[in-house]
């Protein structure tokens, strides 16, 4: 059995900064010495998107006028630790954006993770037995299934989708990114694929918030793994 975090994205959304295409350059410029490459799309427009690719460390940071994103396709277990790449450089860059005169306020953040718990003896029938109590085949003799659970507390949302893992096609057909390094492990069939989104509405955000959300996501996923 192997638990593989195939993809993780963390976004902080804020009120649009109208002149971000110019004001961001001073913030981003020092980090170019640490990246492998940079993508700039829609240059000098309000839609401008700058992506710093830290290929050697397998992550990227993207800047837009109303959000900053972190993406990685390798294991995320250590991201919650102090001095992780989320704290430095992601939150370090974000704190510089917050200090811009033109910065308004944080709106919300999105924590998204796709995790495959690979287990070659765990097939669709076992999923039915563990998670689907009714005889749903009388409605439709299904060959695949997916369970969606939503939780709304105040204004925060947790959205969980999980179902049987049928192999790497499961990721490819959904357009979910994964690391080439993990391709062999992900090619096995069997187990459960879960994708989890947590949206928190907040006026300010720090690394501590990220750590809290990380623990929350772990706790939700653990409850699935414990049932198989």
């Amino acid at each position: 059995m192997a638990i593989i975090e195939t993809f993780h994205q963390f976004e902080i959304r804020f009120t649009p900064i109208l002149n971000f295409q110019t004001s961001s350059r001073k913030i981003i410029a020092p980090y170019l010495s640490r990246t492998n490459s940079i993508n700039i799309e829609w240059e000098n427009t309000f839609k401008q998107r700058i992506t710093l690719n830290f290929d050697n460390d397998a992550y990227s940071i993207t800047f837009l006028w109303d959000r900053i994103l972190f993406q990685t396709s390798v294991g995320i277990i250590n991201l919650k630790n102090s001095n992780s790449i989320i704290e430095e450089p992601f939150f370090a860059i974000f704190s510089k954006i917050v200090n811009l005169e033109e910065f308004g306020q944080v709106i919300n953040c999105l924590f998204f993770t796709v995790t495959a718990n690979i287990n070659i003896v765990y097939d669709n029938n076992r999923f039915k037995n563990d998670f689907l109590s009714d005889d749903l085949e009388s409605i439709l003799p299904f060959t695949d299934s997916d369970i969606t659970l939503d939780q709304l507390i105040n204004e925060d949302i947790i959205k969980l989708n999980f179902g049987p893992y049928i192999g790497i096609e499961d990721l490819q057909k959904r357009g979910i990114k994964y690391s080439i390094d993990q391709q062999n492990e992900l090619s096995a069939e069997g187990g459960i694929l879960a994708d989890l989104k947590i949206v928190k509405v907040l006026n300010s955000i720090s690394f501590k918030n990220y750590q809290f959300i990380f623990e929350e996501s772990n706790s939700v996923l653990e409850k699935i793994w414990q049932r198989i």
């Binding site: 994205q9 976004e11 959304r13 020092p30 980090y31 010495s33 640490r34 490459s37 940079i38 993508n39 799309e41 998107r49 992506t51 290929d55 050697n56 460390d57 397998a58 990227s60 993207t62 837009l64 959000r67 994103l69 993406q71 390798v74 294991g75 250590n78 630790n81 102090s82 001095n83 992780s84 790449i85 704290e87 430095e88 450089p89 370090a92 919300n108 999105l110 998204f112 709304l152 105040n154 204004e155 949302i157 959205k159 690391s179 080439i180 390094d181 391709q183 989104k197 949206v199 509405v201 690394f207 501590k208």
Partner: protein
């Protein structure tokens, strides 16, 4: 309960590089035209790939790129889309080296980036005050071999450096980066103030508790 969040807030921002819509049926030349790459640069890439023993690349069509399992094809597609550093011969050589099997295995389990200030150094070791936990204001003094600081110009006391430590079972890598744009020196002022207070308290304690006839 009503929420101000909309479906848009739950949608993750897609960051995919531009890709021609007719990719599946394009030849390599058409592919390059679709992503607006200079034909001279495309020739450069094809000739470089040939030099690295990949004669076949010169005849590649887009169907050869459809499998992402081939790291060289992924490299080529990335470069076509990124169009950054395409004029640099060094760029493609480094990129190709990245995808050799030895480098492919270089996946780090843990990466930490520690803000630090140099407190002392000699020919063998450099001692740094390292910020281990920003929220808890936890500092540690750590020593590193001086060779990893050879890339830092004008090594001096109080110089900020960013220490990146990457580790995995059986292996560790330390990168030292000039911290002038990455280290918040004000965090270390707090630690200095505390150390001064601590020293003053210690001195005061000795005065109070020292016996009269000792």
């Amino acid at each position: 309960m009503a929420t101000n969040l909309t479906k848009t807030d739950l949608k993750i921002t897609e960051i995919d590089h531009k890709f021609p819509s007719n990719f599946g049926n394009s030849s390599l030349t058409q592919l390059s035209a679709d992503v607006n790459i200079d034909s001279n640069i495309l020739s450069l890439y094809k000739s470089r790939l040939k030099e690295y023993g990949s004669e076949e690349f010169s005849n590649w069509t887009s169907s050869n790129f459809t499998t992402y399992a081939n790291p060289l094809s992924q490299l080529f597609l990335d470069k076509l889309n990124q169009q950054i550093d395409v004029n640099s011969d060094i760029g493609i050589e480094n990129d190709l080296l990245k995808y050799r099997s030895v480098i492919l295995n270089e996946k780090w389990t843990k990466i930490i980036n520690i803000q630090s200030i140099i407190i002392s150094f000699n020919t063998d070791l450099v001692q740094c005050e390292c910020l281990i936990d920003k929220d808890e204001k936890l500092f540690e003094t750590r020593s590193f071999p001086s060779i990893v600081f050879d890339n830092i110009p004008n090594l001096a006391k109080e110089k900020p450096v960013l220490i990146s430590i990457k580790s995995k079972p059986g292996s560790i890598k330390i990168d030292v980066i000039d911290g002038k744009n990455f280290v918040d020196k004000s965090l270390f002022e707090t630690n200095k103030t505390w150390e001064q207070l601590e020293n003053k308290f210690k001195k005061a304690s000795i005065k109070v508790f020292k016996p009269k006839n000792a």
